[in-house]
């Protein structure tokens, strides 16, 4: 199966391991993720001001480029997915805004592209139960906290991937890989998001609450699909340890990194050494490295 794919800025730079592990895992499962031949930054925020049409231009250009090459567009990053999916819906529902934007970019986006997240694609097209069919479940017993964050799920009326209060999609994926999925209270609480740029202490507190909840549930690793969540949860753990004596640091991985390892793919390109809290000792101790 061939799907057009939008990596986005962060997956092409700071989160190359997310991209590499996602692409390799998809390939192993018979999904060929073909990168859009031309793309730009999505803007990393869906404009919440209704009079800000300019911020819709960047994601519309991405959708337009996708329209020239196919009818689906797959994203791995939660934020890119959120921005593209909401923009696509807005262009479909608000004809006057679509016309203005089309006039501005001097091309015509006909809102025919369907925006997908790799998680949805795996669940709906491949089926989680098929992921490790007949194979050995290499992640058996690894205690994992599935962290969804915000933008992968909300607003449900527009994203529609999973229940925003009791999501299952990451839980089910990880369970199908043999992981022991822990229940924890903060799986869709906010990590602080872009507050990282202006309010580092608040971001640290929000991220700490999530990690504390995951640790209290016995997790050995936290898993996410968002590079901003990954950064907020991972980067500040040194600070958290200094601030909260007794805080045990915990690796924060992308779901694709664990998926790739579970599928038995060589993990050299997965960027495991790039994380601030090194996941390799845990992986080595479980014979996964």
């Amino acid at each position: 199966m061939r799907y057009l794919y939008f990596p986005g800025c962060t997956l092409s730079t700071k989160a190359k391991g997310f991209a590499a592990s996602g692409e390799a895992s998809a390939r192993a499962l018979g999904i060929d993720l073909v990168e859009l031949s031309r793309w730009n930054c999505c803007g990393a925020t869906f404009p919440l001001a209704t009079d800000n049409l300019l911020a819709l231009v960047a994601p519309t250009r991405i959708l337009l480029n996708a329209q020239k090459e196919g009818d689906h567009l797959v994203a791995l990053c939660s934020i890119c997915y959120h921005v593209l999916k909401r923009t696509n819906r807005l262009l479909k529902e608000e004809a006057d805004k679509r016309e203005k934007i089309n006039l501005f970019i001097e091309e015509e986006y006909r809102e025919e592209v369907q925006v997908l997240h790799l998680l949805g694609l795996l669940r709906d097209e491949i089926g989680f139960e098929a992921l490790c069919e007949g194979g050995q479940k290499r992640l058996q017993g690894l205690r994992v906290a599935p962290y969804y964050g915000c933008l992968l799920l909300r607003p449900f009326q527009e994203i529609g991937l999973d229940d925003p209060e009791e999501p299952r999609i990451l839980d089910d994926l990880l369970a199908s890989l043999g992981c022991e999925v822990v229940e924890f209270s903060h799986k869709s609480e906010c990590c602080g998001s872009y507050l990282a740029m202006n309010s580092s202490e608040v971001t640290r507190e929000l991220s700490y609450a999530i990690l504390r909840s995951a640790l209290a549930s016995g997790a050995q690793v936290v898993v996410t699909s968002c590079p901003l969540c990954q950064f907020n949860l991972d980067y500040r753990q040194g600070e958290m340890a200094a601030h909260y004596p007794g805080f045990a640091q915990i690796p924060v991985l992308y779901f694709t990194q664990l998926l790739g390892i579970a599928l038995g793919i060589e993990s050299d390109t997965f960027g495991l050494a790039d994380h601030h809290v090194d996941p390799r000792p845990l992986l080595v101790s479980r014979g996964l490295q």
Binding site: C9, A49, R154, M197
Partner: protein, 134 residues
């Protein structure tokens, strides 16, 4: 606090602008407080999210000087729980925009620590710029 109210104020220019930019009907909020109860950043805010919306309902521009509007991370938890379907993140955005469009930037990128900037993912910098720069 004694507050003088008039129809001129509660249906005045400020409220009109917030409603226009946010696309929300400000009086749809019945002050149940669910947004404040679930807001993950409420612990750091000077006013609760429901108090900010109350100020706007009363046409009081103090809402614009609250730290709360800059601590809203647009996580959309309040939106997904509001029984009245009020999109409070859009109201917060409208308030931020009113300040940014009048007073300019709230963030100086060059003042951020070099270590942070070299580690931060692109989308943090872009999203932060979108939210804090005019």
């Amino acid at each position: 606090m004694r507050v003088g109210l008039s129809i001129r104020q509660t249906r005045g220019e400020f409220v009109k602008r917030v409603e226009e930019i946010s696309g929300q009907e400000i009086l749809a909020c019945n002050q149940c407080g669910k947004c404040s109860a679930g807001c993950p950043a409420a612990m750091a805010m000077d006013l609760l999210p429901s108090q900010v919306i109350r100020l706007v309902q009363l046409g009081l521009e103090e809402a614009l000087t609250s730290e709360t509007i800059w601590l809203c991370a647009s996580c959309l938890t309040c939106l997904s729980r509001c029984p009245k379907g009020v999109d409070l993140p859009r109201i917060m955005e409208a308030l931020r925009q009113l300040v940014l469009r009048k007073e300019g930037d709230r963030l100086e990128l060059s003042a951020l620590p070099a270590d942070f900037l070299s580690e931060a993912p692109q989308l943090a910098i872009i999203a932060g710029s979108r939210k804090y720069l005019s």
